[in-house]
Amino acid sequence: MKDAILQLIKTASTTLPGDVADALKKAHAKERKGSNAKAVLSDILTNIEIARQDSIPLCQDTGTINLFITHPKEIAQSFIKGEVNKAVKAAVKKGYLLQNAVDPVTGTNTGTGIGDGNPSIHFTQSRAKSVRIDLLLKGGGSENVSAQYSLPDSGLKAYRDLDGVKRCVIDAVFRAQGRGCAPGIIGIGIGGDRASSYNIAKKQLLRKLDDVNEDAALMKLENDLMAKLNTLCIGPMGVGGKTTVLSVKAGALARVPASFFVSVAYICWALRRASCVVRG
């Protein structure tokens, strides 16, 4: 299993998923000739090509390692976790991952890419015979501009409805400017508690960009926000332009009557996801 995970990490780190690359190409075609936005997007496109050809990381910040793993009950989570850790250590050695685990108390970098809670693994048990692994590498810069709101928020005039949700998302993208390495992809979590809300927001980032939400209300929310956010004209890397976000994806969870959280998981254009199925 370790080798399959290592291969998965390599793929995620060095090649951008086709749907994301296509969205970037379309964005590049749309920007004005000679604009800073076009210059930035053309750097990005060249970069994707070089990383793929040379099998090197797309971005030096290989970010937090998020794994969503579905496994049969016969395979212990502790075993899978051990295999993941071995794969991460090997990936760090091979230069596919940065040494990205720092002890927050002592300030020392473990040097292995492994630390308490890192990689971050979400397990789900299923009846399937094999293990399915979805990997998302999420850059620190984009994690830093991600945000969570508690509604109502009178400053934003955001109340406990979908209009309130929209206001939060527009606020988060506005505040991010180009700093999360725009153009970004926006995962939204509505409801839940603070932790589950952020988690479902992050999970949206595993969806293909052309994936259509089954929930009609959420689909409309996604489309409305996509159009609105691009009117901000923050542009690639915040240098101005038509492309501020590439896609918006939303998910919802039941909430307690007392709370209404909106989580905005912002991810940079370097949305590195990959998945695989491993037989036990």
Binding site: N36, A39, V40, D43, I44, T46, N47, I48, I50, A51, D54, I56, P57, L58, C59, Q60, D61, G95, L98, Q99, N109, G111, G139, G141, N144, L156, K157, K166, R167, I170, D171, F174, Q177, G178, R179, C181, K228, L229, T231, L232, C233, I234, G235, P236, M237, G238, V239, G240, C268, W269, A270
Partner: protein
């Protein structure tokens, strides 16, 4: 497209304006949080000789040992604003002609750019593979044992390193301009 040599003189740096697309060639040095904390408020002559007239690149590279030397595998820019408390002091004290990073910096840095004739240039975030191709040689490394590879100061020879001037020595910041403009649009959008 403007060619900028490093080390650079004051005149060519003062000639740069926000929105200029540049290609940097010459010697630059990486530096992020640890290096800025180390250089802030004190003068290190050896480091000053390297940095004078040159540019600090906010970057924590992935480095591999190769043969007796090092190879930079990947080296995109990191978020610059974290160095805001230190940057103005370091521009002044070490005579650097500017900074390369991403996301822009604050008022203290903008003032220092004007006073000392320096610029802030943004490299495309995440374009680490492209940027690492622009690195022609690792000239040296400092503080490697103290800080570890990503935080160490790597002295690099680069060629045609792409960037956009986003803060100039005339008190203009493209980041501020875009912020203001998007603020107006934000109010319209909600």
């Amino acid at each position: 497209m403007i060619t900028l040599n490093s080390p650079a003189d004051e005149k060519s740096v003062r000639a740069l304006r926000i929105g200029d697309v540049v290609r940097i060639s010459g010697v630059i040095a990486t530096g992020r949080d640890e290096l800025h904390r180390r250089l802030f408020g004190r003068f290190d002559k050896k480091i000053a000789n390297i940095l004078k007239g040159s540019f600090i690149y906010h970057c924590g590279p992935i480095v591999k040992r190769s043969g007796g030397g090092y190879k930079i595998i990947s080296c995109g820019p990191t978020t610059s604003i974290r160095e805001e408390p230190y940057q103005a002091d370091i521009i002044k004290r070490y005579g650097i002609r500017g900074v390369i990073g991403k996301g822009g910096m604050g008022g203290g840095t903008l003032t220092a750019l004007k006073e000392h004739g320096a610029v802030y240039m943004q490299a495309t975030g995440g374009a680490a593979a492209l940027l690492s191709r622009c690195i022609k040689e690792v000239i040296g490394v400092h503080f490697l044992d103290d800080f570890g590879a990503p935080e160490a100061m790597w002295v690099l020879r680069v060629k045609d390193f792409p960037a956009v001037v986003t803060m100039d020595s005339h008190s203009k910041s493209l980041h501020d301009d875009i912020y203001e403009a998007s603020m107006k649009r934000y109010k319209k959008a909600v």
